[in-house]
């Protein structure tokens, strides 16, 4: 590992970023041209390579203790476009690669080309779109230029929307259309924000913008409008309350493997850009103000999503509403990190708990939610439906699947030992340390709601009474193992000592500025 890191950081650090971005793009073109059964093979061959690249990037960043950077075409910003990976980017690249590897293995059974034909619609679309989602996510996590990030967001939209309606049913078509309209509105508002930033400061490069905004001159009205428009657009894509209407039908309508990708990863991309906008572009004084609004919406999402999840009749809808609530937690990071009271912690040079907690929530929710949707897919495939009423006794038939679901649920509820517990613990501590106790109440209420809706699934699933269930289709052991693996990932995160999360701090632009009044 050490020699790998040395090699990586010395000469290959920058080019590794290009590789992370271009590998899925090249694989996408190859899979599309070869088509048929080759599409799946291309994806399964590319995924481990991509995982290796993500590991190498993380290793290089840890080894250097600094972010990686690459000027594309040799043109430095502001004229050119550069790629950039700090610890947070690397964490998300890794999370994405791990989840996609699991999804790839899981999806083989659902998207096999049937015998007798050389190519079929759903498999070709799924495998190529999966690569496209990957390309879009990596482009978002590596982007350093606001317009380049716009293209990345669009790449992601065009990849994610068709995943929703692969089954072709009228409900999923309507869900995909609604998702597309929300996403397009979001992109256009984001683009307008970018244009206004360019008009006011003549650059789209994030560090340059940040420097010019912090130069001491009064902030241009255009920049304020730009930040507001971008935030609104990105919130629509992240489905934060009250812009959430599109999410539940879209995430519940997609095939299980698609739901896993959409809920675990795709909504995180736009959230990541909101983080970058308020912590890396805008000056800290303004972030304090925006943070209150964002967290208030997040709190509403936690409560609203939790209550609605309680009222769902279908398992996949319940999981989709749970995503709404879990997204809410992410937004509590803003007032907890961007708070004057957090400054002393930063001065000590230690990891600010709220930041690490937020990143942990991002990552552990990704693993847990992917595992949950895929477990739900196995259950729905085996029973032929996913009505909660018909789940009685499923735990006796599919013990490993239900166990994986319960483990993932542990993380969502924030019970120890799990990544969700670690993240919620850090967020709770930060809210008390910074004197913002009201967020504590929201988090505790959210945890209770999560427990309640998961109880609605697990209580019948684990009951030992009732007639034995008949399965429509057997469930492959290998797929159950994949789901269990992901659920374990979300739990294991909670067993790792906090000090080893130093990676998420490396190269944070705002690390010195955040929290100072």
């Amino acid at each position: 590992m050490d020699s790998l890191a040395t090699l990586a950081s010395a000469t290959w650090g920058g080019p590794l970023l290009v590789l992370a971005l271009m590998l899925p793009v090249a694989a996408l073109m190859l899979a599309f041209v070869l088509g048929g059964r080759h599409a799946e093979r291309v994806v399964l061959a590319t995924l481990p390579i991509g995982l290796g690249v993500a590991v190498a990037i993380a290793a290089a960043i840890i080894h250097q203790g600094a972010a990686l950077h690459y000027d594309l075409g040799g043109w430095a910003p502001p004229l050119g476009v550069s790629l950039h990976a700090d610890g947070l980017s690397a964490t998300l690249l890794l999370t994405t690669a791990v989840v996609l590897c699991a999804v790839g293995l899981y999806a083989r059974a659902d998207f096999r080309v049937p015998p007798g034909v050389s190519e079929a619609r759903a498999p070709l679309a799924f495998w190529t779109l999966l690569l496209a989602v990957w390309a879009g996510l990596n482009a978002v996590f590596l982007g350093q230029d606001l317009f380049n990030l716009y293209v990345a967001l669009e790449l992601l939209t065009f990849a994610a929307v068709p995943l929703v309606c692969l089954s072709g049913s009228p409900q999923t078509i309507a869900a995909a259309l609604r998702y597309l309209l929300f996403a397009l509105m979001g992109s256009v508002l984001y683009l307008l924000g970018g244009a206004l930033f360019y008009g006011a400061y003549g650059t789209l490069d994030i560090p340059m913008l940040s420097a010019r905004l912090a130069s001491g001159d009064p902030i241009a009205p255009a920049a304020l409008a730009a930040a507001a428009l971008m935030t609104a657009g990105l919130l629509a894509k992240t489905a934060l309350f009250p812009l959430h209407l599109w999410l539940p039908p879209a995430h519940a309508g997609a095939p299980a493997a698609g739901s896993a990708v959409l809920s675990a990863l795709v909504v995180k991309a736009s959230f990541f850009l909101i983080l970058r906008l308020w912590f890396d572009v805008m000056p800290a004084s303004l972030t304090h103000l925006a943070a209150q609004v964002l967290a208030a919406l997040g709190a509403a999402a936690i409560l609203f999503g939790g209550v609605l999840a309680l009222r769902q009749a279908r398992l996949k809808m319940l999981i989709a509403y749970s995503t709404l609530a879990q997204i809410g937690y992410l937004f509590l990071v803003f007032p907890l990190v961007a708070n004057p009271a957090a400054a002393p912690i930063l001065d000590l040079g230690q990891t600010p708990g709220a930041w690490t907690g937020g990143v942990l929530q991002l990552v552990s929710h990704a693993f847990a939610k992917a595992a949950m949707f895929m477990a739900a897919g196995l259950i729905a495939g085996a029973l032929g439906h996913d009505q909660l009423r018909g789940l009685g006794g499923i735990g006796r038939v599919l013990p490993m699947t239900v166990f994986a679901f319960a483990l993932a649920g542990l993380s969502l509820m924030g019970l120890p030992p799990s990544g969700g517990f670690a993240s919620k613990w850090l967020l709770l501590s930060a809210s008390i340390e910074t004197g913002q106790w009201w967020w504590t109440l929201v988090m505790l209420a959210g945890g209770l709601l999560t427990g309640a809706y998961l109880f609605r699934v697990l209580a019948p699933a684990l009951s030992t009474r009732g007639p034995p269930l008949t399965l429509v289709k057997p469930v492959e052991r290998s797929r159950e193992l994949v789901v269990l693996g992901l659920a374990l990932c979300s739990v294991v995160l909670g067993l790792v000592p906090f000090s080893s999360f130093g990676l998420v701090q490396i190269g944070r632009l705002g690390a010195t500025g955040i929290g100072l009044p």
């Binding site: 409900q171 309507a174 309209l181 397009l184 509105m185 992109s187 256009v188 307008l192 244009a195 008009g199």
Partner: protein, 104 residues
Amino acid sequence: MSSVTLFGLCGAALVGLGLFGLIVQPGVLRKILAFNLLGSGVLLLFGVIARRGGGVVAGNGSDPVAQALIITALVVAFAATVLAVALLRRLVQETGRDSLDSDG
């Protein structure tokens, strides 16, 4: 007031009109049209910014960087419209309706 400012105000009005239509129009085709109005308003504003920047330098040009970005965005908007229309046509085939209501 200069022509450039005038077109900027026109773009601002188009953004408002498009946003309103996107939210309240009941028909999907009307929503897609509204999205296109919104998009072209946004690009007009970008064009105004480009013209101001280009004018400083060349006196009579438009900022090539902004122009290139606008062209890229126009192509994206076209592709998005095609995808939305295809989804709409499929929806009409399946349900006979041009709206997203009552689908839960």
